[in-house]
């Protein structure tokens, strides 16, 4: 999209009007965020009345720069990433007018946190095989099942949920998409403690939860298609920021190497240099991808970046623990905690080593991503499918 100077100027003046009417220094944070949403400056590419102005997405930067210069408060997007990155685009595309008006404003301001009830113990890579059941009773759906690996479930007011509404058709066709009230009776959230000692995620048990039909997103049985919007936006959200050299996990290892010559061995030196080169090339590949996007020529490299970083994070953190020797035998803290954000670089090497094991599992396993590259980028044939035309209830499990 090209920058229309008039639109940029218009947005700039609207932003200044907002700042004049609600000076950040004297305005309550939440009041300011609500006023910003109502002025259409939350996400300018959204429609008018829903936090936007129907402007090109690229012009958001104009607004953000003005607001940052004025010291305006932000909506802490990292804390509400699932709402912003996954729930909002899905609600925008499939929601009714009433749903959009009810959900988007408090979602964007962060007043209401969202989580995602997709993965199940029996449906990981094969998400479409999910077994949480939703049965119609009058104008509501009664939901029973178990979800897992749910970030923010213990903080969330709302969830996007996919559940099986028709077990008698093939798995992709019998799913429906709902918005679930996390405060409803029958919703039980339990922390899921992981190998690092803490619990970033939750298990969510749904027992007789009643969801009004008015909180369905999209048609009955069309939930898989609706979920694609959610998942595609998840991939758009990844990829983001420009890294400086040594900006990733290689940074702390390189610093330790420089500062503590007594830890150096020849074997570690060879491995460190090899990984340093790979990290630098991965950084350049990410930078090239960003340049392609900026030039309006998105490349397929995005599909591969997660693969590359998962392997690198694991190898680099493994080397780091080994480099530390005696210290590598220790661990910072096994206390069960509930972190709001994942912070790789702020913790010790042992934590990085353990946490990065999940990088090749979460958000699409490396094996599934390799299939995606092979089939969608290289055009190789898919595996023969034995599940496509079989009713969900007859699938092997």
């Amino acid at each position: 999209m090209t920058d229309s100077p008039m639109d940029a100027a218009l947005l700039r003046s609207r932003t200044r009007e907002l700042l004049a009417a609600h000076p950040p220094a004297t305005t309550d944070r939440l009041d300011f965020l609500r006023a910003r949403f109502d002025a259409g400056l939350a996400w300018v590419h959204y429609p008018e009345g829903l936090g936007g102005l129907g402007a090109p997405r690229s012009l958001q930067a104009v607004v953000d720069a003005e607001l940052a210069a004025a010291g305006a408060p932000g909506n802490d997007p990292r804390r509400i990433g699932i709402g912003l990155g996954m729930a909002a685009p899905t609600i925008l595309q499939y929601g009714t007018e009433e749903q959009k008006r009810r959900f988007l404003r408090p979602l964007w301001t962060g007043e209401e946190v969202w989580c995602q009830l997709f993965s199940e113990p029996g449906a990981g890579s094969d998400l479409a095989a999910l077994g949480t059941r939703a049965v119609r009773e009058g104008d509501a759906w009664v939901v029973n099942g178990q979800k897992v690996w749910t970030s923010s479930a213990h903080l969330a007011r709302w969830a996007i949920l996919i559940a099986r509404t028709d077990p008698d058709v093939p798995k992709h066709r019998g799913i429906t998409y709902f918005v679930c009230d996390m405060t409803d009776p029958g919703v039980e959230v339990r922390p899921l403690r992981q190998i690092t000692g803490e619990a970033e995620f939750n298990e969510v048990f749904l027992t007789g939860v009643r969801i009004p039909d008015s909180r369905r997103l999209g048609e009955v049985g069309d939930g898989w298609r609706v979920a694609q919007t959610t998942l595609n936006n998840e991939r758009v959200a990844i990829g983001g920021a420009r890294l400086p050299r040594e900006g990733g996990m290689i940074g702390p290892v390189a610093r330790t190497w420089r500062e503590r010559p007594e830890l150096r061995t020849h074997d570690l030196h060879q491995r460190l240099l090899t990984l340093w080169v790979e990290a630098e090339v991965a950084r350049l590949t990410g930078e090239r991808l960003r340049q392609q996007l900026a030039a309006g020529q998105p490349g397929p490299e995005g599909a591969g970046m997660k693969l590359a970083f998962a392997r690198l994070n694991q190898e680099i953190s493994g080397l780091e623990v080994e480099l530390l020797g005696e210290e590598g035998l220790l661990y910072g803290d096994w206390t069960m905690r509930r972190p709001e954000l994942v912070d790789f670089t702020g913790r010790d090497a042992g934590y990085r080593y353990l946490r990065s094991k999940g990088n090749s599992i979460e958000g699409g396993t490396s094996e599934i991503l390799l299939n995606i590259v092979a089939e969608r980028v290289l055009g190789l044939p898919a595996e023969p499918r034995t599940d496509k035309d079989v009713a969900w209830k007859d699938l092997a499990r």
Partner: protein, 360 residues
């Protein structure tokens, strides 16, 4: 941090690519390259003439006032990608990049213009395996004439002028007619090596050897990554094409997950190599952070190109082991390239000093 390097291809660079690819499609088929390799005249001088005299590609790195095109390493890198894709047996890297860079550091405008116009071919008489900054043998200068034997000189058999470092610290131009150039049976038939014997060869001092050789080898190492990218890209593309077509067990073998994952890994490596190679070409152009960019590119490119060629051979099955199928040309070039201008290990060692990750 300085401005980010431009890692994309410009429209002009894509135009250069299209022109070279077209030409190679018409003039550089695999069967011809295989036959030429054993013919006693391994270099394709007809192709060279079109690339240089007609298209002016030998003069990309040479300023216009010296008879060149005044272009940059970025365009030369694109030419090398395409030459790599075709394993073209032409002395582009050795003459139009390495020897040309050496001359650019010297005072030899006449030679530079001849090389830029493609009228003459020249090679630096330093072994192909030599990394930038590494030591290398020199000839002995006595009474204005050179003596000695230098081995492993790539494309020397095609050269009219040899650029010879001598024991007095000078770089000398020697007519190859005044030397004895003997081809060596080489692993890579498309970039053959030769020994150069100098027995009182008349020579002209054109400059200091150390800075010229260093500059030449650094550019050679940096742009070699683009050739390796071209090799790897061809082997991946051709292997994917073949595995979609080849059927066993009543299926295209490219549909088996064990093979798909190997190809997806290769694709990822090639995508990374593209970023590393573009970064090196851009850094050679701008002069910013060049030593690191070149060392990173070579430390990464060599194993990727070899891996791509080795996988191509394995995934082709039996046909890949035949002399008739071109994949061996790519394997031999990729393996030779992994030694050319310094191994990946040598470049990692250079990085240890450049980015302060010192050995124990």
């Amino acid at each position: 941090m300085s401005a980010p390097t431009d890692l994309l291809y410009s429209e002009e660079e894509e135009a250069v690519r299209a022109a070279v690819r077209d030409l190679l499609g018409d003039h550089c088929d695999a069967a011809g390259v295989i036959a030429r390799g054993e013919s006693g005249a391994p270099h394709d001088l007809t192709l060279w003439k079109v690339l240089t005299e007609d298209m002016g590609l030998a003069g990309l790195l040479v300023p216009e006032e010296h008879g060149g095109q005044g272009a940059t390493h970025r365009e030369a890198a694109v030419v090398l990608e395409e030459l790599g894709r075709a394993v073209a047996p032409v002395p582009y890297l050795t003459s139009a990049v390495v020897a040309t860079e050496a001359l650019l550091a010297c005072d030899a405008a006449d030679l530079l213009a001849e090389l830029a116009g493609g009228r003459r071919i020249s090679v630096l008489a330093v072994g192909l395996h030599t990394a930038p900054g590494a030591g290398h043998p020199t000839a002995r200068i006595a009474g204005g004439a050179l003596h000695g034997e230098l081995t492993g000189i790539a494309d020397a058999a095609a050269a009219g002028v040899l650029l010879v470092p001598a024991d007095d610290g000078g770089l000398y131009a020697v007519e190859s007619g005044a030397a004895t150039v003997t081809p060596q049976v080489s692993l890579d038939l498309t970039r053959p090596l030769a020994t150069v014997v100098l027995d009182g060869a008349p020579a002209r001092r054109i400059g200091d050897a150390a800075p010229a050789v260093r500059r030449a080898l650094r550019a050679g190492a940096g742009l070699l990554a683009s050739e390796q990218l071209g090799l790897a890209d061809w082997t991946l593309t051709e292997t994917v094409r073949y595995l979609k077509e080849r059927k066993q067990f009543n299926r295209p073998v490219g549909g088996f997950q064990a093979l798909k994952h190997r190809l997806a890994h290769l694709w990822l490596e090639v995508a990374h190599l593209r970023a590393a190679a573009r970064n090196a070409a851009d850094a050679l152009t701008t002069g910013q952070d060049t030593d690191v960019a070149v060392a990173v590119a070579q430390a990464y490119a060599a194993p990727v190109a070899v891996h791509a060629a080795e996988e191509a051979l394995q995934l082709h099955g039996g046909i890949g082991m035949t002399w008739e199928h071109p994949v061996h040309l790519y394997l031999k070039r990729a393996k030779a390239d992994s030694i050319a201008y310094g191994t990946a290990g040598a470049h990692r060692e250079a990085l240890a000093a450049l980015v302060d990750l010192r050995a124990p």
